[in-house]
Subunit: 83 residues, 2 copies
């Protein structure tokens, strides 16, 4: 039996890709006593539910890195407020 | 009035730092029609609630990058399962 599954939220390794424009929220859940794997779960727009993303996929790493970069590079024509 | 606040979840720019060992979950919420700012919210362990993290702080970027790296560099003495 796969002991790493434990009380994880994701039943398997998850999707390698989702449409970025459909992402409402990304959750990163570090390994813990209840699940020894890191889990990454996206909530989709328009009530389309939640989906596990494969934390090892290039796509997953890239969307998260892009989200972080947006804080450095403001979106074109829509300047980031400066606090 | 600060139009960027909209229906954002975070009232202000958020904390620059939290104790990593207290983090249960990190949520990244991209800019949307209801809130034009990206928001990063951590859920703390032991029912200690949720806290907004400043998406522009070095700390925030680093904990997320570290979480992603863990997928590449397995934790010492606790090998990552290979699917």
């Amino acid at each position: 039996q796969d002991r790493s599954r434990g009380r994880c939220l994701c039943a398997d390794k998850g999707a390698n890709i989702v449409l970025v424009k459909n992402i409402k929220k990304v959750e990163i859940i570090p390994p813990s006593a209840s699940c020894e794997r890191q889990e990454i779960i996206v909530t989709l727009k328009n009530g389309a539910g939640r989906k596990c993303l494969n934390p090892e996929s290039k796509f997953t790493k890239n969307i998260i890195l892009k989200a972080l970069e947006k804080q450095i590079l403001p979106r074109a024509g829509f300047p980031q407020p400066r606090f």
